[in-house]
Symmetry: C2
Subunit: 455 residues, 2 copies
Amino acid sequence: MKSPLEKEVLTKVRPTDEEICQVCAVAARIIDEVDKSGLAEGMVVGSVARDTWVRGDRDLDIFMLFPPDLSREDLEHEGLALAYRVFTALGARAHEKYAEHPYLNATLEGLDVDLVPCYRVASGYEIRSAVDRTPFHTRYVKAHIGDYRDDVLLLKQFAISGGVYGSDQMTGGFSGYLCELLVIHYGGFHRVIQAASRWRPGTVIAVEAEGNREFHEPLIVIDPVDPGRNVAAALSLTRMADFVELCRGYLTAPKEAFFLSPAPPGITRDMVEDIIRDRGTALYALVFMTPPYIEEVVVPQLKRSEASLASLFTRHGFHLTRADSKMNGIRSMVLVELESGSAPRVRRHRGPPVWNLENAEKFLAKYLGPDASSVFAGPYNEEGVYIVEVPRAYTDAGSLLASPEVMGVGLGKHIRIALEGGWEVLKDEECVIPGFEEFVRDFLGKSSPLVKVIR
Amino acid sequence: MKSPLEKEVLTKVRPTDEEICQVCAVAARIIDEVDKSGLAEGMVVGSVARDTWVRGDRDLDIFMLFPPDLSREDLEHEGLALAYRVFTALGARAHEKYAEHPYLNATLEGLDVDLVPCYRVASGYEIRSAVDRTPFHTRYVKAHIGDYRDDVLLLKQFAISGGVYGSDQMTGGFSGYLCELLVIHYGGFHRVIQAASRWRPGTVIAVEAEGNREFHEPLIVIDPVDPGRNVAAALSLTRMADFVELCRGYLTAPKEAFFLSPAPPGITRDMVEDIIRDRGTALYALVFMTPPYIEEVVVPQLKRSEASLASLFTRHGFHLTRADSKMNGIRSMVLVELESGSAPRVRRHRGPPVWNLENAEKFLAKYLGPDASSVFAGPYNEEGVYIVEVPRAYTDAGSLLASPEVMGVGLGKHIRIALEGGWEVLKDEECVIPGFEEFVRDFLGKSSPLVKVIR
């Protein structure tokens, strides 16, 4: 039974007849093109095939099932060639993307279409590449979804609104297939919410058979079409906890904001200035041109750069409170909050153990000789290890972030190239620049999805 | 063979004939008093007995050897009674001190005299209390010291000048007996210095028999009169490294400063102001009346208070560079250097895991309800654990040090009582107060003994 609230939400998230009509028409034309090639069989997969897509979802996934006697190399080659032919026939400009092997992506009538080659295999146990599994997922869901389509829509919308939907690296949340399996396993939206409110790390859900290997992720959902796979492998502990919290909150006091969160307030430079003054901290942003690659390529490098810059600050004696990063169309930003923008001039430098005669003598000679004039205190030993107190290179966090030290940390290839073109250092309220207002606001007022719904 | 430098040093550290004459006379009178009681036998122990005391040493240790059939209780009782009678007969005002059992201390003709009751046992294996060992030490050294008296004087003076002499808790250095054993074992001052320059933690020196148990101290010197004891047990790793470093420095470039360090420069408030400004840090002192107890009682409590105050700062978000403490006749000081005297207003507070339903709900209710207005950000979860960002109680280190929080940390009984009478908080150059000038100077310019000799 759906509550009146849920029924109301469903009227807003079920795709419109117009949408359904359009998506089906585009899908049919693509399938026709694939089938008439005689090389492969077209199959709609994903939420469109399962009739579990929410209003406004513009993704259409179509697989081209090739005979399993094709070599892997031929599959890649023929698959791409056919996909190009199909899109060209339909007048769409396609570009290559990569999962385990290349596929094509194009925009057709405003829909984001993936055309993916895979093997037509007889069962989930015979899959050769990760994408071969997808048709089995579609068949499994279609066979078991029964009357739960609306439940899936509610759960997906609940996850989307709560910021926990999407199994991409950035989100680390719930995939559509995972939402579908949860609804099938527990028996509807309500039962998922009730069960999940009591989840703990290590919860195992065997939709069909038990898993045939050890899993170490926080949530383990054994794939019914492949018991060697955890459908929830991409779900991070943080995102899982966000979801558990949302479920508890919904059980306590359900409201529409759990599905359709109201637009958050805007933010201005003046507001940020006040917030920073209240917090008593210092905010720094490093801004640069986004490398001309897709999110799946750039985001992991951006995350790596964020971690490297955080270590750079720590290594130079600045105390970090939090860091985050954001890729935008044109520019990308690494945002860091420090307890203070300045560090003391004096720095403790650890030398060798006194017992290491050769290095101990070199160390002493250096700080008693050429570098003596710069020494604040020491050398002395603490538990047998030499310490000397010397000047710090950067006492201002902004100078560090503007220095060539930035190029010396692990950034990832494309971010490195982007930074070679220069970068900007922003401080405090300067960090509020077009395209990053929401990001800065959410960073400073960081709260869990449930807290946002309640406040 | 002694070098001309060492011969020169010896002329300055050998006790004068006058000193010898005076010490012997005082010792003889005490021994007489003990012997004529008929209850115990007097025995001079320590460096005076071994003829290894350095000029200006005012310590005279005399033991009263009681028959071993006396009960422990009777030994304590009769021992103290006899000691009081002896000192009274000589016109000295005595006061009780404690080692494993009580003994008397008095000042006689400017000498610091300990009169200690112990058992007359037949061998080191039969000792019943730690002090029973001392007569055996004296006998052992007398029997083996041979021509090495001058070597012991040099080593002791070397250790005194280098700040590594004394097995008390504060120093954690070399006892006189340890110096004597090292000279006997290695065969003279020079060989000690050569060997020690290559010591490493875990070095074992078996003067006679191998030890009969496992030792875990950095330097292990098996007591020739009790193989179950490590004579160097009190030596800390830091002090051992200081000594190793001094030995290396002496082998490289011997000079008089290794034995008789020149008086270090004085320090003024203006100088401290400049040093602190250069270092870019903040110095804080907590000053209070020294409890009316001996050093052995107060110093460990002071060290404990220092560690507790260091944790108090860390717990409240201040970053410590170093801390030290000093007991003086009238006042005592805990001195702390912080990276900054202020901490950001915002503080991360860790809550319960999201999975702990009961506590999670209480936590959320608190920060969404009554405490909501004070929340800067959050609650949110990090890897399943709640975080909330709330205001810090103390953003100024001086306010924290002046607050009642100080009475809430582990201080030790006597320091606690002293602080109940109030305390003073000093900042930066204010810390230079009479009686603590050297302490503040050595704190700020902390260097190893060798570095001090060389600079």
